[in-house]
């Protein structure tokens, strides 16, 4: 019995994390490495608490989140708009696609110096960079989703009287939504990368700036606080995104669970025979 619970994923995960932190703490206290270079987790935690109490960390987090949100919104809106437009108009696609593909091939991080040269180290350069990075995955996914919308659904819509913008709004866009959402989710982590890169290059507030500043004043403990904060922010953003999708579009999750549901249904049918065919699935 004890052996079984020991093998639970949660138990194993906690053991791994706890072991890692303990080893780190021991290494840092052992004198084998400089505690300045590698501060113990307990020291990092204390610095974190101090930064929270002084209100400093909250300001950094809010500054970063605000930039990330604005850049994400701008890039995602443009990506969706252009993705739809290019998928619906072959002429526009022919005109713009080579251009967009070329820009897409350049790693977004390479634009950091240019963005700072153009827009300075203020908010504009950061929002521009995040929007730039977010734009491409959203655009590609929207384009594919709209272009490859199920012909049967389009026919069903047409036979029920959906034409013109109604077809776009009530059939094509909802049909492309799973693709668009996948693009948005990829963009979320890209936004975090570009946020930090832009903040490292210069800022007055922001978690990336906190890390940069701490390095200049030899506060490795605070650098670790910044790193942990970024990890938590990314994790929270991902979780919030998934929750929002599940709440706004419950059918997408229902569909993602199809494979599992079908397997369960098949097992169930084998057990009770074909009569369950017409019953609700759990």
């Amino acid at each position: 019995m004890a052996r079984v619970s020991f093998d639970q994923p949660a138990v194993l995960g906690a053991l791994g994390a706890g072991g890692f932190l303990l080893a780190w703490e021991a290494l840092s206290r052992s004198g084998l490495v400089s505690p300045i270079m590698l501060p113990a987790p307990s020291v990092v935690l204390q610095s974190g608490v101090a930064l929270v109490q002084s209100g400093e960390l909250v300001d950094h987090v809010l500054a970063s989140l605000w930039r990330a949100a604005l850049g994400f919104l701008a890039g995602a809106s443009l990506g969706i708009a252009l993705g739809v437009a290019l998928a619906r108009s072959p002429r526009l696609h022919g005109l713009l696609n080579p251009l967009v593909q070329t820009f897409r091939a350049i790693p977004s991080l390479a634009f950091v110096p240019l963005a700072i040269f153009w827009f300075g180290i203020g908010e504009t350069s950061k929002i521009f960079l995040i929007a730039w990075g977010v734009f491409f995955p959203v655009w590609v996914n929207t384009f594919i989703g709209v272009r490859d919308v199920s012909p049967i659904l389009a026919r069903a819509g047409a036979s029920l009287g959906a034409t013109g913008w109604r077809m776009l709004a009530f059939v094509v866009l909802p049909g492309a939504l799973p693709f668009i959402i996948a693009g948005l989710k990829i963009s979320l982590s890209i936004a975090m990368v570009l946020l930090v890169a832009a903040e490292l290059a210069g800022a007055v507030y922001g978690v990336g700036y906190l890390i940069q500043l701490s390095q200049q004043v030899f506060r490795v403990d605070q650098m670790f606080v910044g790193l942990a904060t970024l990890g938590l922010m990314g994790f929270a953003a991902d979780l919030a995104f998934d929750r929002a999708v599940r709440w706004l579009f419950p059918w997408i999750c229902a569909r993602a669970g199809d494979a599992r549901r079908d397997a369960a249904l098949r097992r169930e049918r084998r057990r009770v025979g074909a009569w369950t065919q017409e019953s609700f699935t759990p």
Partner: protein, 276 residues
């Protein structure tokens, strides 16, 4: 052929390609329609030769034939998705130029909008037509009751079995109150038991709503169970081989003489080996 079967099955005049012979009063008139597919290499395949067919109001017409006989092409032309390369199709006195809510469609499967609930799917057509929310609600409830899915109104299609999904698809197609219901092998993906249940339900709907139905199938028994008339299409190129009115009493039992005689005749027309 026995006396019993000839009483049950009344033959129509020999199928004719002449469009001018079609009765003007027919709800659907396919006037010498043909369709030629052109591949990207320029090869031409004649999917449908000059087919003339008139469907009367209230008829339950089964288009029966093997794959590649052009039955789905013909249905898609009546629906307005495919333009005939020759001839024309007239429904309700008007030439078919494209899809219209006046011709309801039920596809083989996966045609429900996964982002809408069952009720949302059924209300889609009326919503496009600008009907009020109150009207849509009443109509949706009524149609879901008709297909026996009143309790599933708030479910999403992915939560339903294949048979339930097709019942929703039928309710959705009926919601625009079309003159014609076009069905493209709607029960082909279902298991035999579910198919039988849905066939009975469709007959009931046909009885109650008095809709004209054009039903494509490659299943001989299904065509006999459902149709008031069966048109057999044969391939290369698609043309009408048989046009039979079915007057067998309902319910049509598979074990009855009439059923089996007709089955053999249809199988012979299609070219199916009876040892099957």
């Amino acid at each position: 052929m026995s006396a019993a079967s000839s009483a049950a099955v009344i033959e129509r005049p020999t199928p004719s390609a002449a469009a001018q012979d079609l009765p003007a009063s027919a709800l659907i008139r396919c006037e010498a329609v043909g369709h030629v597919y052109r591949s990207t290499l320029g090869d031409e395949t004649q999917a449908l030769a000059s087919v003339s067919l008139a469907v009367a109001d209230g008829e339950f017409l089964c288009l029966l034939g093997p794959s590649g006989c052009g039955k789905t092409t013909l249905l898609n032309m009546i629906a307005g998705f495919v333009t005939p390369t020759s001839g024309r199709i007239v429904v309700g006195g008007r030439s078919v130029e494209g899809p219209s809510p006046d011709r309801g469609l039920v596809f083989q499967d996966y045609s429900l909008f996964p982002w809408l609930t069952v009720a949302g799917n059924v209300a889609f057509g009326p919503r496009m037509a600008g009907q009020s929310a109150a009207n849509r609600k009443t109509l949706t409830a009524e149609l879901l009751e008709l297909v026996g899915l009143g309790a599933a109104a708030d479910r999403y299609p992915s939560e339903l079995s294949g048979g339930m999904q097709q019942r929703v698809a039928i309710a959705r197609a009926l919601a625009t109150d079309p003159a014609v219901l076009l069905m493209d092998e709607p029960f082909a993906a279902l298991d035999a038991m579910t198919r039988g249940a849905l066939q009975r339900q469709l007959l009931e709907i046909h009885e109650r709503k008095r809709k004209t139905i054009v039903f494509v199938t490659h299943n001989i028994a299904e065509a006999i169970a459902l149709g008031t008339r069966i048109v057999v299409l044969t391939p290369h190129p698609g043309r009408i081989a048989e046009d039979i009115r079915v007057d067998l009493p309902r319910p049509r039992r598979r074990t009855s003489n009439g059923f089996n005689t007709l089955y053999e005749r249809l199988a012979a027309a299609i070219g199916v080996d009876m040892a099957d």
